[in-house]
């Protein structure tokens, strides 16, 4: 079996070799692109006076004019300078805000489908107003994806003013809208909302039974704010629409009982990739407990699934890090924001396994009925672009995986933040003490301090250290989510000390008061390096907004989880040297190198996992596209004959394939079973003629029989009642078997890394086995349709009887 970490280290080596070359190339590309954008900015600037001279009404009319020119054949490229200049003038009139030149550059990068990297506080929201307007002129809708509902609402009100002024419509897409409200929001020229909601609407649109019930239009252009969070940080969490299924509580409890008594050599926990697997010992314990021979036998897949989920709940999922228990319920914690993920739950029984672990009431299981990763959702857009303050360090990944390049937009005002060098301690205890001391010093001069942590657990450790120094502070974590915005907004007040999990309150401005500014601005202290430099930068970026003063520094230790998880092998060597040195910060060069190594390994591992996940999800995505296309056809096709009649033929052929093999002589064929299955489908006694000796001949014979019924069905399908019956049957069949397919594919994915395939790549195997499963799913979807079609008269009669009964009642 190939471990992900092996792949990672090789990948890392290769990457290093090409770093220099990349830097050079990047620099060239970047400067060329910027030069080009500067040229267009000049054009925009030159147009400014023309629009300034226009009345409000004339400006509004410009929108109509631009639309007409597009219709007449001009391209966005040809119009963009005018469109940008128009938005800039409208913004001045409506909001009193004029786009800076650098904001125009950002807008142009977005219009090209790039990621515009702009420092925090550079007015990204205003930047998005430019390409969103320009692309909306096409009339196919533009989606602006915000970090949360609050910001979506704010943008609709504020930035929407510009668009409305220019005669476009603006929609707000938030959860819990009625379908009509949703349709109105999507029908608007520009629609704001949170990415997950757009993804869920897509899934919901593929669960409706009438095309009129759908809410989305085709996916045209999207601008994603904090694009790195969406495409990288959340890459591992798919959006899942779930129906309720019940978990077997008894088996869950037993599974928990067994794994909680596991000795440490019963499983292997790979902290790097947070994956746990059973050792031979663990496997034997399970086999003994259930008196089975081979846990990995196909027939024991169900048991395996329960045991692995129990093990994950027990070993991988940590209380107060991955989840909290609140009011007798498991609430998941977003590892990047530290926020509770409201209403989110883990699927496939893992959530219930955690409930069993914590001994709280077991809820119903979420049975996945539709699933898409947010990345695949956005890949369906004709063009996607994004904004963030921190993407450059992940440029390669974004380019390779999503084909989006990062354009670094120069800052409008020079950055005044001082990013001080890391201070490293040998132990966590010393680290927290140093954090408290640094905080105390800053506090003494009334400088506001924001201490970033990576988990709730760590927040409490920091709080304890501050208590020792008698410092009072605000603590912000998933458990106090209600006050999040208030606490973050006030974090810039002089003398304020705030402890927050790293991304808490992202999107909320930390505003400094005068005394705080004079005291040096916000001092951000990082207490542990994050999973990537990019996230470290996100934390630093909380300070020094829009030319404000500020400082950032990481105070870390060699005992940090990141080091333990990703640089265990090298740690010992460094520790030996450290021991001989006196107390205080570790000044060894090797220590700094070790931290960087740990972070790089973590980044590399994360990248490999995401890369692999994307590939695995690609397989399922292809299946989804086929199924959804079929579903759309059912909803949209005027007539369904051409769709369903071949299903009957294929079903007949499958029955032949299942029972009759060309490798056997006809005497050895299980004719009785075959005949039963065929008669059952055809709803008729159609004996297998004795003179047929090849399965292909048998297929031809039975296909002929169903073809002879074709005319009759064609006629029947003209009856709207029959048409509706067949469509409903097909939709129900798709829903049922697609849900099953998702479960099976998830189980397959779960097991794919635990099975050895010799030289074969797991992804390749997943694709191969997935294809077989998909064929089976298609067969399962088609069978009931073929079955009903053979006995239409009975179904129609039954329907009529039911209606009569209802009338009687």
């Amino acid at each position: 079996m190939k471990k992900l970490s092996d792949l990672t280290s090789r990948g890392r080596g290769e990457r290093r070799k090409t770093v220099l070359q990349l830097v050079k190339n990047t620099f060239n590309e970047q400067s060329k692109r910027l030069k080009n954008y500067m040229k267009i900015v000049k054009e925009i600037n030159a147009l400014e006076s023309r629009y300034q001279a226009m009345t409000d009404e004339e400006l509004t009319n410009q929108t109509v004019h631009l639309k007409e020119r597009l219709e007449a054949g001009e391209t966005i490229d040809q119009l963009k300078a005018e469109a940008f200049a128009l938005v800039r003038e409208a913004s001045v009139r409506v909001l009193g805000m004029r786009h800076y030149d650098v904001q125009l550059i950002g807008g142009l990068a977005l219009l090209d489908g790039h990621i515009a990297e702009m420092a925090t506080g550079e007015g990204k929201t205003l930047v998005a107003s430019l390409p969103s307007f320009t692309k909306a002129l096409i009339g196919k809708g533009v989606h602006v994806i915000t970090v949360n509902d609050y910001l979506a609402r704010r943008d609709v009100e504020q930035i929407g003013e510009i668009h409305r002024f220019l005669g476009l419509t603006v929609g707000l897409n938030i959860p819990d809208l009625s379908p009509d409200e949703k349709r109105a929001a999507y029908g608007a020229d520009i629609t704001y909302g949170v990415g997950t909601e757009f993804g869920f609407d897509y899934l919901r649109d593929h669960l409706v039974n009438r095309k009129e019930d759908r809410v989305q239009r085709k996916h045209h252009f999207a601008i994603i704010d904090e694009v790195d969070s969406i495409l990288i940080d959340e890459a591992k969490t798919p959006l899942i629409m779930a129906g309720k299924g019940s978990v077997h509580e008894g088996l869950q409890t037993v599974a928990k009982r067994i794994v909680s008594k596991f000795p440490s050599d019963a499983y292997e926990y790979d902290e790097e990739i947070k994956a746990v697997s059973l050792t031979d010992k663990g496997i034997s314990i399970i086999e003994e407990n259930f008196a089975i021979d081979n846990l990995f036998a196909a027939e024991h897949q169900v048991l395996y699934h329960y045991m692995v989920q129990a093990l994950r709940a027990h070993i991988v999922m940590k209380r107060d890090v991955d989840y909290i228990v609140k009011d007798g319920k498991i609430e998941l914690v977003d590892l990047f924001t530290g926020r509770i993920m409201e209403g989110r739950s883990l699927s496939d029984g893992l959530h219930q396994a955690i409930e069993a672990k914590e001994g709280i009431d077991i809820t119903e299981e979420n049975k996945t009925t539709a699933q898409v990763t947010i990345q695949h959702y956005f890949r369906m857009y004709e063009l996607v672009s994004g904004m963030t303050g921190t993407a450059q360090t992940s440029r390669q990944e974004l380019l390779k995986t999503y084909g989006m390049d990062v354009v670094q937009v120069p800052t409008n005002r020079p950055k005044l933040r001082e990013d001080a060098a890391d201070i490293i301690y040998a132990t966590k205890e010393e680290k927290y003490d140093a954090v408290a001391r640094s905080t105390k010093e800053a506090h003494a001069r009334q400088q506001p301090v924001l201490i970033g942590t990576t988990s709730i657990e760590q927040s409490f450790a920091v709080a304890e250290a501050l208590d020792t120094h008698q410092l009072s502070y605000q603590i912000l974590n998933a458990k106090t989510v209600d006050q999040e915005t208030d606490i973050i907004r006030d974090a810039g007040r002089h003398g304020r000390i705030t402890i927050a999990t790293n991304m808490a309150g992202r999107g909320t401005d930390i505003t400094l008061d005068e005394i705080a500014k004079e005291a040096g601005g916000l001092f951000v202290i990082g207490t542990e390096r994050h999973e990537s430099v990019r996230i470290d930068n996100q934390l630093r970026g909380r300070s020094g907004r829009q030319g404000d003063p500020g400082k950032s520094q990481f105070i870390v230790s060699l005992e940090d989880d990141l080091v333990r998880r990703f640089a265990k092998d090298r740690l010992e060597k460094v520790l030996k040297k450290v021991k001989s040195s006196p107390q205080g910060p570790v000044t060894l060069k090797e220590a700094q190198a070790l931290l960087s190594y740990a972070q790089e390994t973590c980044e590399g591992t994360g990248y490999s996992i995401r890369e692999e996940l994307v590939k695995l999800d690609d397989v399922l995505h292809q299946h989804r596209l086929v199924i959804y296309a079929l579903r759309n056809q059912v909803l949209e096709a005027d007539e369904i004959q051409d769709m369903v009649l071949p299903m009957v033929e294929r079903t007949v052929e499958r029955i032949v394939d299942r029972y009759l093999s060309s490798e056997l002589v006809p005497e050895e064929w299980p004719k009785e079973e075959f005949q039963f299955a065929m008669n059952e489908l055809l709803h008729d006694e159609v004996p297998l003629p004795d003179d047929l000796e090849q399965p292909e001949e048998v297929k031809a014979y039975y296909v002929d029989i169903v073809s002879s019924r074709r005319e009759k069905w064609m006629e029947e399908l003209k009856n709207p009642v029959v048409d509706e019956l067949i469509r409903d049957q097909l939709l129900a069949s798709i829903e049922e078997h697609w849900t099953e397919h998702l479960t099976t594919m998830n189980t397959l994915k779960e097991g794919i890394h635990l099975r050895s395939y010799g030289q074969e790549q797991p992804v390749r195997m997943y694709e191969k086995e997935g294809f077989e499963i998909f064929n089976y799913t298609i067969a399962e979807i088609e069978y009931p349709v073929a079955y009903v079609l053979q006995r239409l008269s009975e179904y129609i009669m039954l329907d009529e009887e039911i209606e009569e009964m209802e009338l009687d009642v």
Binding site: S246, H248, G250, L251, V254, N289, A291, V302, L303
Partner: protein
């Protein structure tokens, strides 16, 4: 929750050479066992202590409160050498305090046949009449099942008994050792005062091999230990041989409305 669904599995567990046997787990076709249930049965069958030869054992695995009124999933294990039926074998349900809370006479409908040397899961549906808990009491999740080998009398409960009263009578009847031959016994099961009426429930148990005619039931009305009144309740019909009859006495006690702790007692002699 155990569900009755889907497929059939047959697995055998070889007995060990220790004089102790682990009966093989058997699922019959009509059980329609779900895969998850199969593992639970496997687990429990595996955890239970081995049996000596010629033993019959029953283990409650789960109380299913979702079925009305309740269903108990039990594992029946035997090390008997021949197949046998359990028609008429009473099964007692005890709570953690060993209080009798249910009794069911097993029939071939519950368990068609015991396969020799086997463990077999069984769903036992209990009717209202087979459960003895008071209405407000919740059926406990932890219970014990026992076979009752004791022969019991027939129990006659007149139709005017309320459900709750019948439950009390049954619980007392089945919790009390069966009467010896040639003995008659009268027991006060329960007294309940509701406003001005006092209701007393009694069991008259006839241990004789022949019908008896008691004529009257001598009672005393007490307030604590103080006798307020003696009464004779007439019993019109005879009590059949080896039969216990439940009797309900209702008395207007408005005369003693200021008295507390009113109760009946069977008069001695």
């Amino acid at each position: 929750m155990f569900n009755r669904r889907k497929q059939i599995i047959l697995e055998a567990e070889a007995p060990e050479n220790t004089g102790l046997y682990k009966p093989r787990l058997i699922f019959t076709e009509d059980m329609l066992i779900e895969k998850e249930d199969e593992y639970l049965f496997r687990y429990h069958a595996n955890q239970l202590p081995d049996l000596e030869l010629n033993q019959l054992s029953v283990e409650a695995l789960q109380v299913d409160l979702s079925s009305s009124p309740i269903s108990i999933v039990a594992l029946f294990r035997n090390t008997l050498e021949n197949s046998f039926h359990v028609d008429g074998l009473p099964l007692l349900v005890l709570d953690e305090a060993n209080r009798l809370i249910g009794r069911k006479v097993l029939t071939t409908e519950d368990i068609p046949e015991f396969v020799p040397m086997s463990s077999m899961p069984c769903w036992l549906d209990f009717s209202e009449e087979e459960l003895f808990l008071a209405e407000e009491e919740r059926f406990p999740e932890k219970i014990r099942l026992l076979f009752s080998l004791e022969e019991t009398h027939d129990l006659e409960i007149p139709p005017d008994f309320l459900d709750a009263e019948a439950r009390r009578v049954r619980q007392t009847f089945y919790s009390t050792p069966t009467l010896k031959n040639e003995e008659v016994n009268v027991m006060n099961v329960w007294n309940d005062r509701s406003e001005n009426m006092l209701t007393g429930l009694f069991l008259i148990r006839n241990g004789y091999e022949q019908t008896i005619q008691l004529g009257t039931l001598p009672l005393q009305l007490l307030s604590g230990e103080q006798v307020l009144q003696s009464l004779h309740v007439s019993l019109t019909s005879p009590i059949e041989a080896r039969t216990t009859r439940a009797v309900k006495v209702v008395l207007d006690v408005s005369e003693w409305h200021d008295q507390e702790m009113l109760q009946f007692r069977v008069a001695q002699g």
